[in-house]
Structures are given as structure tokens and as C-alpha cells.
Amino acid sequence: MCRLNVSLAIILWLTCVPVLLPQSVDLPPGPLQAKMKTACSECHESGIIVQQRLGRAAWTKEVDKMIKWGAVVDPGDRNAFIEYLSENFPADREPYVAPRTARPKKK
């Protein structure tokens, strides 16, 4: 019973540790790279961005939605964000190949 209580105490402590997850691919280099990461990183990493294949109108809607939802984008940078995303992730670009999570190491 005592062992169980100790286990539970450890479990409860560990479940209070913030979840740290591995990070994904980086955004393409360029003057907007750092600003994009800062604006987007509170909510998500770049993997969700680099898999999109959208035209300029769709990117415009996405950028405006994200600004509405709290992405910190200087109003003077809005158009540059749309340009950066439209150029790097256009509708006709080849599909993104997603990585897979690691398999357990054989003992």
C-alpha cells in the first residue's frame, strides 16, 4: 500500500510537468523567417505551415484569421507574410512529405 502511495505521488508530480514535445522542420530562410516563427510559435510549430499548398487568396484568409486569433503581426508586415507564404507554399508545389515518429530502439 505504501509503495502504491509513493507511486501515485510520483505520478501526480510528473503529470504536473509541462509537456515538452520535439520540434519539427524549420521555415524556409528569408527576411520573414524569424518574424513568422515569432508570430506563429505561441500556438504551433512550422510543420502545420509547410504542409499547406494554397493560392494567394487562401493564404490571405489564413493570415487574417491567425491575426484575429492572436498572432502578433505588425500591420506593416501583413502583406509580406502573405507574400512569403504564397511564394514558398503555393498550390502547385509538390506535396510535403511528412516525417514519421521514431520507432522504439531494439534492445
Binding site: T15, V17, P22, S24, D26, E45, P99, A102, P104
Partner: protein
């Protein structure tokens, strides 16, 4: 009832998701990230966590938790103390409740085998492309869920006749000004004997990625209905008014041309899943040694049952019936198989399509909609048969 030992197991599983931070990878790199308890999964997003099952893992009635897809809209709760966790039941009820995990575990437990599919599964096949997680085929899995019936919880709270919808709120951590992930289902579905407050998945406590300690389980409906990390149930006199009910998770009332905008007043909530089959073996792009092979797959139909699955090996000119597996459970996918001898070496396309008991059949072409929901186009794999 959950024993203390099982409780520890579940909590341990919840801990198991705590990963190790890694440095940023260089542009375009695709190094395999380590996520304990989720091996070989396709990474659609690491934060928020969205993991897709490689479809070749779908060859069994029950999908192991290790291979079950993960769809998170927000950050997972950073703290989950099952002893402190509470589920409130309020709104249009005579007796508001505050339930503990132990209290829920003491209620009559019911088990449902459910095929859970993300509404956006197959979005990557929408042309023109639509924004969102670019799921291909594997945002779907089948698991055995157990817990008290939601209707028993509502009866205990003495839901009033004015209650028409039941809202679920989870402990998702909402960043920025993002709207909270809150959804509701009609009282009729909430009162169905198979709709659960699920505590267990495949015989063990839910893991953190799947909603520990409790989630809604709305069988046959899009995955978004089955809110995770449940902390509040509220009976409402109308559908919940929030982003993830409208404009989110809605389908056009009428077919739309690909790329066409749809006004929200011309839409309705996405609810039950479509009829759909997928080929799990051979895999797309496989090079097979023998002309003789067993084509295998799964098929499901939300609240309906699968009536038949057919396979075509001549680009859809003719269709042959597949053998349906013996294992059956309402809401669960059906395994199927089709023995085939390729007539000659070289490139071949194998197609599958399912028909359900409502007469629905998978379409030949993607039925496009602005959010890429419920895409159930006839499945195709291309293989190479070696000489």
C-alpha cells in the same frame, strides 16, 4: 469500476507522452521525432499534436493505442491530477452535479467499439487544396471505449425537457485569442445508449493524447464530437454558438463546385461519418514479388453498416465483391479481403469502394467542400508486380 492498479496504469500512460525537447531541424529535413507511446506515426503537426496512422497499420478490428491517430485542436492540458479532476454537469438540469473520476467509475459501465474518424481525413486529396491539417488516409482508427452512458449522467442530473443540446468543454489549453474548443450534440444523440463518457480505451485508462481522464464518445460521428479531457457538460436549449460549431465543422447543404465559397447559412453541422473503404494492403507504391496476392482493407459507414465492398483492378470498368470479415460491431469498421492474381507483371491500380445499408456508395471523384470534410472518394493504390 477502475481499480487502483488500473488507475496507476492509466496515469503512467499519461506520463508516457512527456517527450524530450529537440533542436530545430534544418529546412526541409524530415528527421523522425520521438514521441513515447506513438511509434511510426505520420507527423502532421507536433504542436498542436496531430499524428496520422500509416494506413498499413489498419489491418485489425481494434487499432492499438500506439497506432491510433491523434487530433488536437489546442495544447494538451499541462497538468492532469486525476484526484483533483472534476466533471461538472449543469445548464438545463434540476440537479447540477460535480463528478469525480472514482464516482464515474462506480456508475454502470458500457462498452462500444467505435471507428473514430477525423472529419478532415482525406483533406489532402481535395483539389483545389484547402487549408487545415493535410490528412491523407489514416486519421481514423477503431477502439473499444468504455465508461458510463452519457444518458445515465444526464438522468442523474435530471435534465429538463427544455434541454435540446449537450455541450462538451475540455481542458485543452487555449493559446492567444483562439476560440475555445467547445462543441455540442443534439439531445437525441446524447441520450443514445451508446454515447459515453469514456474512461477507458482498449481495456486501459485513456492516455493523455486520447483525453485522459475522460472524453465524450459519440459513436458513428466525426471525431470532433468526441471532446477530450472532458471537464464540463452543459445542457443547452439550443446548439452551442461557438467557432467550432459555426463556421467550423459544417457541410454545404448542396454540392458545390470545387473552389466555390459557401455562405454559412447554406451549411449544416457535420455529424455522422460517410461510407468509406480503404485498402490497407498492398500499400500504395508497393513492389510485390508474386502475381497472387490478398488485397485487404477496412470499410465503415458511421451510424450505418457496411452492405458490401467491391474491388476493381481495371480502373473501375468492372467491380468484384470482396469478402467481408466475420467480426462485426455496429459503429466499427469491417475488415475485408479480395484474393487477386495480377494478369501480368508491371504497374497496376487497385480500387475499392463500399456501399452501406443506407444505400450510400463511395463516389468516383472527391466531393469537394471548402473545409475538406468527410472526403470518401473511391480508394486507389498503385502497385508494381515484379516480373
Amino acid at each position: 469500476m477502475i481499480s487502483r492498479r488500473e488507475f496507476v496504469t492509466g496515469a503512467s500512460a499519461a506520463i508516457g507522452v512527456v517527450g524530450v525537447a529537440r533542436p530545430l531541424l534544418s529546412w526541409g529535413a524530415a528527421e523522425a521525432p520521438a514521441i513515447p507511446g506513438k511509434h511510426g506515426m505520420i507527423v502532421r503537426s507536433l504542436r498542436f499534436l496531430d499524428l496520422e496512422m500509416p494506413i498499413e497499420y489498419g489491418n485489425s478490428l481494434i487499432t492499438p493505442v500506439e497506432h491510433f491517430f491523434v487530433r488536437n485542436h489546442m495544447h494538451e492540458p499541462s497538468t492532469l491530477d486525476p484526484g483533483e479532476w472534476r466533471l461538472s454537469v449543469a445548464g438545463e438540469v434540476k440537479t447540477p452535479l460535480t463528478l469525480t473520476l472514482a464516482g464515474l467509475a462506480k456508475m454502470e459501465q458500457h462498452t462500444v467499439i467505435d471507428t473514430l474518424e477525423c472529419a478532415g481525413n482525406g483533406r489532402a486529396f481535395a483539389v483545389p487544396h484547402v487549408p487545415g491539417v493535410q490528412w491523407e488516409k489514416g486519421a481514423v482508427g477503431t477502439a473499444r471505449f468504455s465508461g458510463p452512458r452519457l444518458r445515465d449522467v444526464l438522468e442523474r442530473a435530471e435534465a429538463r425537457p427544455t434541454g435540446k443540446h449537450v455541450m462538451f468543454r475540455g481542458l485543452d489549453e487555449v493559446p492567444g485569442k483562439v476560440p475555445a474548443f467547445i462543441r455540442s450534440i443534439p439531445i437525441e444523440k446524447a441520450s443514445d445508449g451508446d454515447t459515453l463518457v469514456a474512461l477507458r480505451m482498449n481495456g486501459a485508462a485513456l492516455t493523455r493524447h486520447h483525453g485522459f481522464p475522460a472524453r465524450a464518445l459519440v459513436p458513428g460521428w466525426i471525431g470532433a464530437a468526441s471532446c477530450k479531457w472532458l471537464t464540463e457538460i452543459k445542457v443547452l436549449d439550443k446548439e452551442f454558438d461557438g467557432n467550432f460549431m459555426s463556421p467550423g465543422y459544417r457541410m454545404p447543404n448542396l454540392p458545390v463546385k470545387p473552389g466555390e465559397a459557401v455562405r454559412v447559412e447554406d451549411t449544416h453541422p457535420a455529424t455522422a461519418l460517410n461510407v468509406k473503404s480503404l485498402i490497407t494492403s498492398p500499400g500504395n507504391g508497393a513492389s510485390v514479388k508474386s502475381r497472387a496476392m490478398l488485397v485487404r482493407g477496412v470499410a465503415w459507414a458511421g451510424e450505418a453498416d457496411i452492405a458490401k465492398v467491391e474491388v476493381s483492378t481495371d480502373s473501375g470498368a468492372t467491380w468484384q465483391p470482396a469478402q467481408l470479415g466475420k467480426e462485426q460491431s455496429h459503429y466499427a469498421w469491417r475488415l475485408w479481403s479480395y484474393p487477386w492474381n495480377a494478369p501480368k507483371p508491371g504497374a497496376h491500380t487497385i480500387m475499392s469502394r463500399a456501399t452501406d445499408t443506407q444505400g450510400r456508395i463511395q463516389p468516383d471523384l472527391v466531393e469537394w467542400n471548402p473545409s475538406g470534410y468527410l472526403i470518401n472518394v473511391v480508394d486507389r493504390v498503385q502497385i508494381h508486380v515484379q516480373a
